[in-house]
């Protein structure tokens, strides 16, 4: 009853165009009052949700991405990608998917990743003639797929919650991410023909070499981050700061095209966008509390009982719930609220924990980018500067491609288990 009233208030306010974060907050306050909970939960949740070391990666990656775009670094990367595959129909779109895969390898936070990719890739996509909704769809679906590419923070959390080897999860993610990536590339191939996306002329070797040389400065970024991660030198958060520092040095001493005053403006814009995202996550923690105390987890466990007849049906049901949780509550709260409830049922059914975790990771990734509320999607749309309603028509084929990839991962457990098995981490 408590949750139902809260949900009705939330939906009503969202329909009246109140900013989603305040609709969540006001509905949360209504829930606290109706439930007789102390209203001190509100400031307490705001502080607990925003006082987060991991989320600190967001402002620095937004700042670095915006600065890299401003001084022309991203142009060099996109030029190289276009020189390599742009001459194919839909080649730039495919290069976004490939870039997302490799960028996920260097950035553990989805929000930071969508910030970096959105600010870096959206302007070149627009310049190349892609509609804003197509650009946002490519970045959103690519980043959703990248959830499975290690080192994802969500994998560390779910590994901890289900007591599963994080190294096994990291290894397990590579092939499923590639499977979803292939589904998306196939869609881009078809879309390019249907929508007549532009095709570049085949570049000369001289142009290709020149593009590679220009891309050397931005290519230092993934090399530094990968090296830092593999040597254990810094976390994703610190990597954001290192990249921000590198981008400031490159802008001032190599490109020499951004003034200090412009940097202050970029810092302000980055801070504002980051604040909007982190505030949303912080306000969502009030909902977590309400769900926890109203017995929602036990209720969900009861709902899932009829699905326990077959593995794929159970995993599909749980994945759908995780997607909805991920869309409303963001990925990490979904892991903390839902996964501990359903994981014991999964192990009782004989589902491999690594397979279960990979399916849930993929589902959370898709949920984060599911319209109309997925925070990742909303952030990608901020870079495209279009509303959800305008974007939805162009986005549904991408959602279907993501779901097709998810079903393949659910129905073929070996996609997740092959690499960990080879490494001796799974029997």
């Amino acid at each position: 009853m408590l949750l139902a009233v809260t949900a009705v208030v939330f939906i009503a306010l969202v329909l009246l165009s109140m900013p989603i974060v305040f609709a969540l907050g006001i509905a949360g306050v209504v829930g606290l009052v109706l439930g007789g909970f102390p209203l001190q939960m509100l400031p307490s949740s705001l502080v607990a949700g925003s006082q987060n070391w991991v989320l600190l990666a967001i402002p620095s990656f937004v700042f670095a991405g915006t600065l890299m775009e401003r001084c022309g670094m991203s142009h060099a990367l996109v030029d190289l990608a276009r020189a390599l595959v742009g001459w194919l129909r839909g080649g730039l779109g495919m290069s976004v998917i490939v870039v997302s895969y490799f960028f996920s390898d260097i950035c553990g936070s989805k929000m930071a990743e969508v910030s970096a990719l959105g600010s870096t890739l959206m302007p070149p996509l627009r310049r190349a003639g892609y509609r804003p909704e197509d650009g946002a769809s490519l970045i959103a679906s690519g980043t959703a797929m990248g959830m499975l590419v290690p080192p994802a923070i969500f994998m560390i959390v779910i590994g901890d919650v289900t007591n599963t080897s994080v190294v096994a999860l990291f290894l397990a993610g590579f092939i499923p991410a590639a499977v979803i990536g292939l589904c998306l590339c196939a869609l881009v191939f078809v879309q390019a023909r249907l929508l007549g996306w532009p095709k570049d002329t085949r570049p000369s070797w001289r142009f290709l070499l020149s593009a590679a040389r220009e891309a050397l400065v931005p290519m230092v970024v993934p090399v530094v981050i990968l090296g830092g991660f593999y040597m254990g030198a810094f976390t994703a958060t610190e990597a954001g700061a290192v990249v921000a520092f590198y981008s400031v040095c490159a802008a001032r001493f190599y490109y020499r095209n951004v003034s200090w005053r412009e940097m202050i403006t970029i810092a302000y814009d980055s801070a504002l966008l980051s604040a909007a995202v982190v505030f949303l996550l912080a306000v969502a923690t009030v909902f977590q509390y309400l769900m926890g105390v109203s017995g929602a987890p036990a209720f969900l466990a009861e709902i899932l009982k009829p699905l326990s007849g077959s593995h794929w049906l159970f995993l599909t049901g749980v994945a759908l719930m995780t997607m909805l949780f991920g869309m409303v509550l963001e990925g990490l709260p979904a892991a903390v609220v839902l996964i501990p409830v359903v994981f014991p049922i999964a192990t009782k059914l004989g589902i491999n924990p690594v397979h279960f975790d990979i399916v849930q990771t993929a589902a959370v990734g898709i949920g984060l980018f599911l319209p109309p509320l997925g925070v990742g999607l909303l952030m990608a749309l901020r870079f495209a500067q279009i509303p959800v309603s305008q974007h939805a028509k162009a986005y549904w084929p991408y959602v279907l491609a993501l779901l097709l990839g998810l079903m393949l991962i659910i129905c073929i457990p070996e996609l997740s288990l092959f690499l960990p098995r080879k490494a001796g981490l799974v029997r």
Partner: protein, 175 residues
């Protein structure tokens, strides 16, 4: 003229603060990497007393908390918060304005609640200190008083027609 200048400077203050907090957070994280991998190596090599860097995480988290709560208020006027345009844009212009004012009145109420209960929480935590820098924890919770207060002021300003979203002064314009 002078009054207008003051008003512009006052309006630009939260924006300067936001840019400054972001830069402090980035420098803090860089300092953490430097301390852990350069300074510690040097002190280990010369067998000097170890340099503590527990404060790095604390400063970063405090900075993000303040940035989020002040930014959430400024974002009301900048229209940075995510919103769905499902029904209201189909209403007559007058009705749209009324809905927007009611929405901002509710937002002001939310900010006021955050500020009032944030103040109580600050008082409650004023006897505790952070483990690294031993800063009074009231300083952390006071961010909800400032952020909530600014949200209430901005929300009320828009609801009463005194402030208009996107009618803002950028840092470089006020400099």
């Amino acid at each position: 003229m002078a009054v207008t200048g003051w008003r512009r400077a006052l309006a630009a203050l939260p924006r300067f603060v936001l840019a400054a907090i972001l830069l402090v957070a980035i420098l803090d994280m860089l300092a953490g990497v430097l301390l852990r991998y350069v300074v510690v190596a040097i002190t280990d090599y010369f067998d000097w007393p170890t340099v503590s860097f527990f404060w790095v995480e604390e400063v970063g988290e405090f900075a993000l908390c303040w940035l989020t709560l002040i930014g959430a208020a400024v974002a009301i006027l900048e229209r940075t918060h995510f919103a769905l345009a499902v029904l209201t844009h189909r209403l007559p212009l007058r009705a749209q304005r009324i809905v927007e004012r009611i929405n901002h009145l509710l937002i002001a109420g939310f900010g006021l609640l955050a500020a009032v209960y944030g103040w109580k929480l600050s008082v409650l935590n004023s006897t505790l200190v952070s483990p690294g820098l031993e800063i009074n924890l009231a300083l952390l919770y006071f961010s909800t008083v400032v952020g909530g207060g600014l949200i209430a002021l901005d929300g009320l300003g828009v609801a009463l027609g005194l402030l208009h979203p996107r009618d803002v002064v950028r840092p470089e314009a006020a400099a």
